[in-house]
């Protein structure tokens, strides 16, 4: 479970102060699939970075599984990211010089006590889950956008994280491929109980999830169950 309490994020330069997030309070319980929507520049990605411990809030408290990470050092934050959080990005962020299998293995490289053979076994299992077990030796530039995103999802899954943070995972894909990707995420949530927070611009995609949180100008403007929205 992730809890954000009174989160504020202010970017400050010599001349300008930009408020990216204001008094955000958000709790994502275990096993929930939450969509975050809002116009560009409203603070969605900043929020996801703070939830993913890639950025620190100017004020407020981030709690993961009941532990406040406010005072954590770089090493401890990296450890939590590695053990508990999986990331899926709009532009996939695959390493072009590594094969599909090596890309998927990456998170386990930073986890102690996992042997090379175990890494390979887990990577193959993750690729199997996203339907790419036949592409292990391919390189990212030999894959379609949808396949690349599936590799990125396999990479997010391999470490068996409690939370998956997806930043516009279908943003670069056509509707068919986008559908494929969202279905994989939905399966992960429904079958494996993965907690997923997804930033999206796509209302259709957002309405497939359980809960929708809307942001505007750094403020949380609505938070509702998708079922409720659909019935209203």
């Amino acid at each position: 479970m992730i809890t954000l309490s009174d989160i504020e994020k202010v970017y400050q330069t010599k001349t300008i102060e930009t408020v990216a997030l204001q008094r955000v309070n958000l709790t994502v319980p275990k096993g929930e699939f939450v969509s975050i929507m809002g116009p560009s520049g409203c603070g969605k990605s900043t929020l996801l970075n703070i939830m993913g411990l890639l950025d620190v809030p100017t004020s407020g408290v981030v709690t993961i599984d009941g532990q406040s990470i406010t005072s954590y050092k770089d090493k401890e934050l990296a450890h939590i990211r590695n053990e508990k959080i999986g990331f899926v990005f709009q532009s996939y962020h695959l390493v072009n010089d590594l094969s599909v299998l090596d890309n998927v293995e990456l998170p386990l490289l930073y986890r102690s006590g996992v042997s090379g053979s175990e890494r390979t076994k887990l990577a193959k299992a993750a690729l199997d889950k996203v339907g790419l077990s036949a592409r292990t030796k391919h390189f990212p530039n030999q894959l379609s956008g949808g396949q690349r995103q599936r590799v990125a999802i396999a990479r997010a899954l391999i470490g068996n994280p409690a939370i998956i943070l997806a930043d516009e995972p279908t943003g670069n894909l056509d509707s068919v491929m986008g559908e494929e990707v969202i279905n994989i995420l939905l399966n992960l949530n429904r079958q494996d109980g993965a907690t997923i927070v997804m930033v999206t611009h796509d209302e259709n995609m957002a309405h497939k999830t359980e809960r929708l949180v809307r942001f505007f100008d750094g403020q949380q403007v609505s938070d509702s169950k998708v079922f409720d929205l659909q019935t209203v």
């Binding site: 993913g52 890639l54 950025d55 990211r81 010089d97 998170p107 930073y110 990479r155």
Partner: protein, 392 residues
């Protein structure tokens, strides 16, 4: 992680090829230069067996003087110089002294051992006293040795060890192939090739000025008393000219000969070292460039790795590790060629010189790589993951 680094470097082999090549060439030039330096350093640290200071090296040119007359004049000349108060000791010998540029090598045999050894012919005066040679065994030449049919010789310690090991050399017989020589003593050191060159040892033989079958030695070695300056040269030439009218005397100071020799020897080494330094600078700039380029090009990869759980320190180690892998590939290739130097003895040096040079060169390249990679790798480690992930 090491396997991962090798995989990354291998998959980027096209981009890394020039860097590996630059490291390879720098290593080869460095290895060659360090081989020469190590060899020179080892030679420099070996004792010469004498001090060049206060030794004057006088070359005699007797022109057309008939040989019998020349023998008499030379004998008188040595006697006359011995009487001069400024001179401590005089010797007449062959001119193949250190720094002279002359050499005279004879093959010596003992049982089935054979070795080329520098040969110094002593003909008059007191060579041991003049050059201040230290005996470790036996005795120096005495009157009558020059005429002895035993052909008495002294050898240096390294020659003794080569032929006789730990056994005493005195009384042992060596052969030149034509004549048998009897060892009467051992001198600890006497190097005739200068301190930076290797030396195969020396043997001394005595000949008599009266022996018409022998060539007259053409070099006088004078040990001056302390405090005697070059101002004495004029008096010396006057005294010598009074005995040997019409002869020419070329006076050189051995300490001056030594500094000229060092200058001559070191000039090409310094030139090579400068070339080497430029190559190394080139590699250093290359490493810097490659790393800066890599870091900028791989900005989003750095962010990704941080997101996946890499600490800043692990990012730092990764970039440092990648450049060390690159260096290792260049060094493996370079070492393959360097080992051929040893196997084929390309430079005619002792095998251990090559091994030292190999070790030092590898160390220098690794140190260079670490120093050059330090700042860019730190820069990579300091990249903020959230910002890096938004780079495309």
């Amino acid at each position: 992680m090491i396997k991962h680094l090798f995989k990354l470097v291998w998959n980027r082999r096209r981009a890394n090829f020039l860097m590996i090549l630059a490291i390879f060439f720098s290593f080869i030039v460095l290895f060659g230069t360090i081989s020469v330096l190590v060899n020179s350093w080892r030679n420099y640290n070996k004792p010469m067996g004498f001090e060049a200071e206060r030794i004057w090296y006088v070359n005699i040119q007797s022109f057309q003087t008939p040989k019998d007359e020349a023998r008499t004049i030379t004998e008188q000349l040595v006697r006359r110089l011995q009487t001069l108060p400024e001179i401590e000791s005089v010797a007449l010998a062959s001119g193949n002294a250190a720094y002279s540029g002359w050499s005279s090598v004879s093959g010596l045999q003992y049982k089935n051992l054979e070795r080329g050894v520098n040969s110094v012919t002593v003909q008059g005066g007191d060579f041991q006293k003049t050059m201040d040679l230290n005996l470790t065994e036996g005795r120096w030449f005495q009157d009558g040795d020059a005429q002895s049919n035993q052909n008495p010789v002294l050898i240096t310690q390294d020659v003794k060890e080569f032929f006789f090991g730990e056994e005493p050399a005195t009384g042992k017989k060596l052969s030149t192939g034509q004549s048998e020589l009897t060892v009467i003593g051992v001198v600890d050191h006497y190097r005739t090739n200068g301190e930076l060159n290797s030396d195969d040892g020396t043997f001394f033989r005595a000949t008599s000025l009266n022996d018409t079958t022998q060539v007259i030695a053409s070099t006088l070695y004078l040990r001056m008393k302390p405090g005697v300056t070059s101002g004495f040269e004029e008096k010396l030439l006057k005294e010598a000219g009074a005995v040997a009218t019409g002869w020419k005397f070329d006076v050189k100071y051995m300490d001056q000969m030594r500094s000229n020799y060092l200058k001559e020897y070191l000039t090409p080494i310094v030139a090579f070292a400068i070339i080497c330094a430029f190559l190394i600078l080139n590699v250093a700039l290359g490493i810097f460039g490659v790393l800066w380029y890599n870091i900028n090009k791989r900005y989003s990869e750095i962010g990704l790795r941080r997101a996946l759980g890499a600490t800043a320190n692990q990012i730092y180690k990764q970039f440092l590790g990648e450049i060390l892998v690159l260096a290792t590939l260049g060094l493996v290739l370079g070492s393959f060629f360097a080992i051929q130097f040893v196997l084929l003895d390309v430079m005619g040096l002792q095998p251990e010189v090559y091994y030292y040079a190999l070790g030092i060169s590898i160390l220098v390249i690794y140190l260079l790589v670490i120093v050059c990679a330090f700042q860019p790798s730190r820069q990579a480690a300091a990249i903020h993951p959230a910002i890096a992930l938004h780079e495309e």
